[in-house]
Every structure is written in structure tokens, then in C-alpha cells.
Symmetry: C2
Subunit: 213 residues, 2 copies
């Protein structure tokens, strides 16, 4: 009800306040993740609670709106990776760029795996899925990515690296690159050893995402 294009344009004070909320939310969510409180955001923006909740019907909607740019950068990282002539390099660069975005914007945590009730994120994942599949297939065809890697293994990589980013915080802000390096060494075709468990099914991935909201 609140973010739909209204019949009348916003009153000047309203649109000004909306911008201030978005700016504060963007800054605070990026710096400290999705569990910054709405109260802190509205204080930072210098508005009341009522003002915030007239523009965004709940916290998830605010998050989703504020993250829209980040979704775009994420999608661009994927397109750039596909443009890379070497399939393996492209695959690695995708992960590096996507995770660098997670470092710069800690509210992105969990978005790759589909957590939160955030329709824009859902839409982005749907658009990206075929590209991601292409990236993976291309690297497999090249013989560089291990053949038993599945699209549904992607959440493992993001869960894993996101956790390292979160845990290390400001104390070891670059250590996720080391973790990703080890993981990538394990994803090379030459390193492959039979894995003890089949990948998740799409249904499982979806159920896990749905359970986390």
C-alpha cells in the first residue's frame, strides 16, 4: 500500500523524509547488517516511527527497497563473469565480486540463499538463475570445475563465506578471501574426490529459504 506509485505525487516534506529514511537505512544496513533496529534508523533519519511506517509497511520491505541497487551490482558481477573468456576465471571472479559486495553491504547476507520475505530479491534470483547455471555449465565443460558440482551447491558457498565474513568482522576483514581460496581449490576438477552426499534438490533449497523467514 505504501510504495505503490500514488495517485497524487508525494507532498514535499513527505518525499524529503522518505529520502532521508532511505539514506540512513542504506548506510546503517550496509555497515551493520539487517538487524539494525528500525528505531535506530528513524532516529538517524530524524523522523518519527509513524513516518517510517507510512513509507514502508514493514522492515523487510524497507530492506528490500534499500538493497535494490545492491541487487543490481550483484547481477552485474554475474554478467561480467560470463563475459570473461576463461570459464574458470569467470567462476572465481563471480564469487569474489559477489562476496566483496557482501563485505561492503552486510545486509546482503542470506539473500543468495533466499532468506527473508523480500520480493525484489526473489525476482533477482529468478533472473539470475539461468545465467548462474550457464556459468557453472561452461566451467564444467571447460574441465575446470568439478563435474559433480551442482547449482544447488551454491548456497553452501555463500552460507560458508558469509559466516566467515560475519565472524571475522573488523578483526580479520580479509580472511574470507583465504577461506574462499581453499573452497575454490576444492571445487577444481583436478581436486575432485567422490563426495559422500548428493547435492540438495531445488525443493530442499526452497524449503530452507522459506523456513528462514
Amino acid at each position: 500500500m505504501s510504495t505503490k506509485t500514488p495517485s497524487r505525487p508525494l507532498r514535499s516534506d513527505a518525499s524529503r523524509n522518505r529520502e532521508r529514511i532511505v539514506a540512513s537505512a542504506r548506510r546503517l544496513f550496509a555497515a551493520r547488517g539487517a538487524d539494525v533496529s528500525v528505531d535506530e534508523i528513524r532516529r538517524d533519519a530524524g523522523v518519527g516511527m509513524g513516518t517510517l511506517y507510512r513509507h514502508f509497511s514493514n522492515k523487510d520491505e524497507l530492506l528490500d527497497a534499500v538493497l535494490e541497487d545492491a541487487y543490481g551490482e550483484w547481477a552485474q558481477a554475474l554478467r561480467q563473469a560470463l563475459a570473461e573468456p576463461d570459464a574458470w576465471v569467470g567462476f572465481c571472479e563471480y564469487l569474489e565480486r559477489a562476496l566483496a559486495l557482501h563485505v561492503a553491504n552486510r545486509a546482503l547476507k542470506g539473500v543468495a540463499a533466499g532468506e527473508g520475505a523480500r520480493p525484489r530479491a526473489e525476482a533477482m534470483r529468478a533472473r539470475m538463475r539461468p545465467l548462474l547455471r550457464a556459468l557453472i555449465d561452461r566451467a564444467k565443460a571447460q574441465g575446470s570445475l568439478r563435474d559433480d558440482f551442482a547449482l544447488e551447491d551454491m548456497p553452501l558457498v555463500f552460507w560458508s563465506c558469509d559466516r566467515v565474513i560475519d565472524a571475522a568482522g573488523d578483526v580479520a576483514p580479509e580472511i574470507w578471501r583465504r577461506h574462499l581460496g581453499i573452497l575454490l581449490d576444492g571445487l577444481r576438477a583436478e581436486a575432485a574426490t567422490p563426495l559422500p552426499v548428493e547435492p540438495m534438490t531445488r525443493a530442499q533449497v526452497t524449503r530452507i529459504a522459506r523456513a528462514r523467514r
Copy 2:
């Protein structure tokens, strides 16, 4: 003040209640992790809040006491791993057994990396550290574990796998084995590619642990 051996033995109702609290806590913490509320535990045990807090001066102390057996099993997994003739197999089995314990007892999450103010856990880590170093050095000497792996990389493995266990929950309860499999493939000496970042220092690991409580 509460768990020290008292001058007098506990009154019969007191010791009975203590056992009920420990039993409930063990079951609930194991099933759902450390953030089960103390209120739920005391209700499950059928006692009042006062009773619980006379026996354990705070939640962390209850956790630490209840996890003591688990610490023992963990240490035993490490000793068994060192007894294994093949160094690499020993290394792998240590991780598999330790993480299987994390699945059976979700309150163990974060213990490997030193989170929480839990003295018994701290003591166990101190006792285990030299053994762990031996396990790693032995596997490196054998030429199976990559040479640039450091003791301080261990938290990466536990953070990473714990996160997968947590995320997958009951939907894909075995998928952590797949993740660990990929990670282990990346830890093999033959798979090693130069890593982009130095391992954490001991000081960093300590600071991270201290920050998380």
C-alpha cells in the same frame, strides 16, 4: 558460588531438582542450540526460576556444565584421530566426528572458535590445542595436508560447517558432509594453489572469540 562442592550435601529435593534441570537443559540445548530460553528449560524441568538460578549463577554457566560430557567426546574424537595410523585419514575423521557431535548437539556451535564465556570450554580448548597442532603437523609431514594450512585456519572450517548445519536444519541434515568433502578436497596438498591472504594470527582468533560474548 553455586556449583562449588558445598560444605553440606544438597537437600534431597534440591539435588533432585538440580538433576531435572540438567536433564532438561541437556535435551533442549542439544536439540535446538544455546538460544533456548532459560524459562523454557525451567518449565520443562518443572521448577521455578529461583531454583534454576540457585544452582547456576547464569545461563552460560548452565550451558558450560551441561556441555561437559560433549567436551569429553570432542576430546576423545581428537585422540582417536591421532591414533589413526594414516595422518590424512586421521585429520578427516577428526573433522567428521567433531562435526557429527555438532549435529547431535547444536549447542556446540561456536565452542571450537571460543565464543561464549565458558571456562570449561576454554580449558578443553587449551588442552586440545597441542594435540590439534600435532594432528596438523603430522598430516603436513606426510605430504597430504596442504603446507600453508595453519592451526589458525581451523576456525574457518568450523564456522563454515556449523553454518551449513544450521542453515540446512532438518531439511537437509546430511548436506554438511558434502560441504566438508569439498573443503577437504581443497585442503589436500595436491589441490593447493597459492592463497591470497595470510592465516589469522592467534591474537586475531582470540580477539574474535572475545568479541563474540
